[in-house]
């Protein structure tokens, strides 16, 4: 799932200082699961902002509301009547959610309350580990389920490089060499031939916005 962290209060205050009626909009999806932007975090931020902004200006009105997801307009119904009452929206969703809210409510300034960090897994409560950079060219089949794009500091498709040192990466002794780990797991699984195959360099596609259409829907959206 998408993982994020809340921005510092000072930064959020900076966005909001000139607005009087502020709607803090929580997301019940990934942002909620990673403890960054769900209803509980909306309630906490509301109190913090009231303390920070209202003491200097009693006209400030800060409300919190959480919808199930901000990445799908089907969940926006309740917002339609609510949003006109506010000067701006502070979204606690990931970057995708913030952008959809901004697209949907074009007349209202929409600000992010989170930094979207990664696609990751839940290691412990409140501790998440990045696992995927959504490169669009998944090579996990050949790398023993370890992503070199995410784990290798150089994002190498053919490794390890000369900087590997006793299983550690040259950039830090605290960082395990991804390609060393890939080698070990492939060896354990008796399929070292996979590491010997030369992979072509990635055709990086994420410099432009990507749209995903599943095959059965090609006809519907592209007429193909």
């Amino acid at each position: 799932m998408v993982k994020g962290t809340r921005k510092p209060l000072e930064e959020i205050k900076d966005y909001l200082s000139k607005y009087n009626k502020i709607l803090i909009l929580g997301c019940g999806g990934c942002a909620s699961v990673c403890l960054a932007g769900g209803q509980k975090e909306v309630n906490i931020l509301k109190v913090e902002l009231e303390l920070a902004l209202k003491k200097n200006d009693a006209r400030k009105k800060i409300d919190g509301f959480t919808i199930e997801r901000q990445c799908n307009v089907q969940f926006f119904e309740e917002l339609e009547n609510m949003v006109p009452d506010y000067d701006c929206i502070l979204s606690m969703a990931c970057g995708a959610g913030v952008q959809l809210v901004a697209e949907q409510f074009r007349t209202k300034p929409v600000f992010p309350a989170l930094n979207t960090v990664s696609i990751g897994i839940d290691r412990e409560i409140g501790m998440y580990e990045e696992k995927c950079r959504a490169c669009g060219e998944c090579v996990l089949a050949y790398t023993g389920g370890i992503c070199p794009v995410t784990r290798c500091a150089k994002g190498l498709f053919n490794g390890p490089c000369g900087g590997t040192n006793n299983g550690k990466c040259e950039i830090s002794d605290d960082i395990s060499c991804a390609w060393n780990d890939i080698f070990n797991i492939l060896k354990e699984q008796n399929r070292l031939e996979d590491i010997l195959k030369i992979r072509e360099p990635m055709q990086w596609k994420n410099q432009i916005q990507r749209t995903t259409i599943q095959k059965p829907y090609m006809d519907r959206y592209l007429g193909k």
Binding site: G28, V33, K40, T66, E68, Q74, E77
Partner: protein, 126 residues
């Protein structure tokens, strides 16, 4: 998932929310023929041994149907039960299909929203 609200229920607020969606809610509950055709489109139903409580129709009848039948006069315990139904048994993937045109996800969203209005929602840190 644990309780956030250990206090009281704002019945007036729930009634307001129900009234706002009364026509669609009433029609949806009336139209449901209990045909169970929605079940096959539910990934939770198919991946949980086809237990009836995972059927989309069961979930919407036991959440919004319950709230409607009780006209919003519910206690925390009932809302906690509804929370269990609409969050634990539904991931809101929006895939459920009703041959009679009932918008089941919309009903589940409404039930979740009513729970949220009473500070009842899932938490992921306990």
């Amino acid at each position: 998932m644990t309780a956030n609200n250990t206090g009281t229920v704002d019945i007036k607020k729930i009634k307001q929310m129900l009234d706002k969606h009364k026509v669609k809610m009433k029609l949806s509950l009336k139209v449901c023929a209990h045909c169970t055709l929605c079940a096959e489109s539910c990934l939770m139903y198919t991946s949980h041994g086809k237990e009836p409580e995972y059927m989309p129709s069961h979930k919407f009848i036991n959440s919004i149907g319950k709230l409607y039948k009780k006209r919003g006069v519910v206690d925390i315990k009932t809302l906690e039960e509804i929370k269990e139904t609409v969050w634990e048994k539904c991931v809101l993937c929006m895939r459920c299909y009703c041959p009679l045109g009932i918008d089941i996800p919309e009903m589940i969203i409404l039930a979740r929203s009513i729970c949220r209005s009473q500070n009842i929602f899932p938490t992921y840190d306990k």
